[in-house]
Amino acid sequence: MRSPSSFNHHLGRRKILGSIALVMFMSSVVVGILGLVVLLAQILFQGLEWLSPELIFNFPSRHPEQAGLKAAIFGTVWLMGLTAAFTVPVGVGAAIYLEEYASENWLTRLIEVNIANLAGVPSIVYGLLGLALFVQWLSMGRSVLAGALTMSLLVLPIVILASREAIKAVPETYRQAAFALGATKWEVVRSVVLPSASPGVLTGIILAMSRAIGETAPVIAISALVYLTFIPQNPLDRFTVLPIQIFNWIARPQEDFRGLAAGGIIVLLIILLSMNALAVFLRNRYQKQSVE
């Protein structure tokens, strides 16, 4: 035990040390925020002059002033539509199973550990899975269908985790009330649990989709195509997506294509930002309702 006097003796030094540390901690936070600010500034600075109707409505071209994102935008819409169609039922179904039906046994634990690990698998590995399984073995070719199935597997853990949280938040009394009225398990799930959990589930789905829109690596492994001058007409057509088109422009040596890439990034970020804003809006509305 130190005597109080030795405490006082060092107090000044300890306080100075504390202040130095505080400055360091604060500047760390500032570094992160500054990084974000510089990144956004660089993209706006490089890309704003390239934002034009041509960028949205034209097909890609060898001439930067005529090149546009049309094929990539339609490809992204196709990919997202199909991905949502696969992910939502399977993800919500898995979450319902784990929260409402599963008993504490080895299978449940295996599924839970497995989902946690899947969330840590690099996205390019999912691309290899899709390339082997969907493109080759199930002979879907380099189609938007193969891309969407791959993307679904990639974002499934996000939807499952978010839906589980939302279902867990439904008060037990709701279920008990429904059971007391003679409802079966499935009726309780369908008419009580799912409706009250739906804002949280929806938030999870939007977040998963915004992750999927920005994913590039797995789609490159599946599609490989970066120069496409048509719009997919059916799920077995070839496709390209926004981040792949942006990557293609970044990879070109000409300065103008770099600017075009920055313009494409602005479009991509605007889409992502609106999706995230929607998710935040839903979450806030939902939280307010549950407080009332």
């Binding site: 300890r14 992160g32 295996l110 946690a116 690099p122 082997a132 597997l153 992750r211 490989a224 770099r258």
Partner: protein, 308 residues
């Protein structure tokens, strides 16, 4: 327990059909949950089968310990070490940025920042985690590299240094938010006891909060680093496409993930030896990240202190 309504015909029939319906629904939901297990099995099977095609021609020993990677240009060599060293070099630079900054931010947010400031800073940092990785690649190539070139004129256009620095920026929010969660879970009574003994805020943070949250903090770092190992587009764009066994961050290198993208973009025929290399590289990558992730979860389970 007898239910009077089941004694007359129709309700009993309805009840039975409901029971049947309930069973079918349960199995359907179980099938959904099993998709996740099938995904893991699918990943392993697809990687192993295609990598098998590679390992029948190239001995696994030559692959794992060979020091030259040139699967397309002659003379061909299939030693994966240059790709592994490229991955580890970029990851190391990223970790040197993200771990100190992420931890310091977490300490600031959990121990120093008033609640209102926290509620502003946290979402801003989370935006960093939501930006697509092509965007980070663009940033590294068009801003970070030219800035560093002003100080280090030797720096190549494609280099491990700027890719690693931006990779660090990218995983800061992951490290900081996971460790902050662990720090916030440290019971207030422990901190109050330290304050009552006359400790300063820094002393409480460093000698009470961080040790008490250590398992969560380590797990956060491991998971962040594992994410860095698997990161693809940023390093494809900014770190280069020249597999090289080097620790010099100023040089152009190639990571395992960037190689997979490079070969996917080419016109390699499916089933050829060149094509199967990406599965051999993917298998190794999968195991590296798996070990990290399992390690991260293990640290939390084994050493995680639970305060009730």
């Amino acid at each position: 327990m007898s239910d009077p309504t089941t004694d007359d015909g129709e309700p009993r029939f309805r009840r039975r059909s409901k029971t049947w319906e309930g069973g079918a629904v349960k199995w359907l939901f179980l099938a959904c949950a099993l998709v996740s297990i099938l995904t893991t099995v699918g990943i392993l099977v697809s990687l192993v089968i295609n990598a098998w095609g590679f390992f029948t021609e190239i001995p696994i020993w030559d692959y794992l310990f060979g020091t030259r990677w040139s699967p397309i240009l002659k003379p061909r060599d299939y030693g994966v070490l240059p790709l592994v060293s490229g991955t580890l070099l970029v990851t190391l630079i990223g970790a040197l940025v993200a771990v100190p900054i992420g931890l310091a931010s977490a300490i600031f947010l959990s121990e120093y920042a008033p609640d209102r400031l926290r509620r502003i800073i946290k979402p801003v940092l989370e935006i960093l985690g939501g930006i697509p990785t092509v965007v980070y690649g663009y940033f590294a190539l068009t801003w970070v590299t030219p800035q560093i070139q002003k100080i280090l004129p030797d720096l190549l256009v494609f280099n491990a240094l700027s890719a690693g620095l931006v990779l660090g920026l990218m995983i800061i929010p992951m490290v900081s938010s996971l460790s902050e969660d662990a720090m916030l879970a440290v019971p207030r009574s422990l901190k109050q006891a330290a304050y009552a003994l006359g400790a300063t805020r820094l002393e409480v943070s460093i000698s009470i909060v961080v040790p008490a949250a250590l398992s969560g903090v380590i797990a956060a770092c491991i998971i962040g680093i594992s994410r860095a190992i698997g990161e693809t587009m940023l390093v494809t764009i900014a770190a280069g496409a020249t597999p090289k066994l080097t620790l010099n961050p100023l040089e152009s290198i190639q990571t395992m993930t960037a190689y997979i993208v490079q070969l996917s973009l080419g016109e390699t025929p499916h089933g050829s030896l060149e094509f199967n290399t990406i599965f051999a590289v993917g298998l190794l990558l999968f195991f590296m990240t798996l070990v990290m992730n399992v390690g991260g979860h293990y640290v939390v389970r084994r050493w995680g202190l639970r305060y009730e």
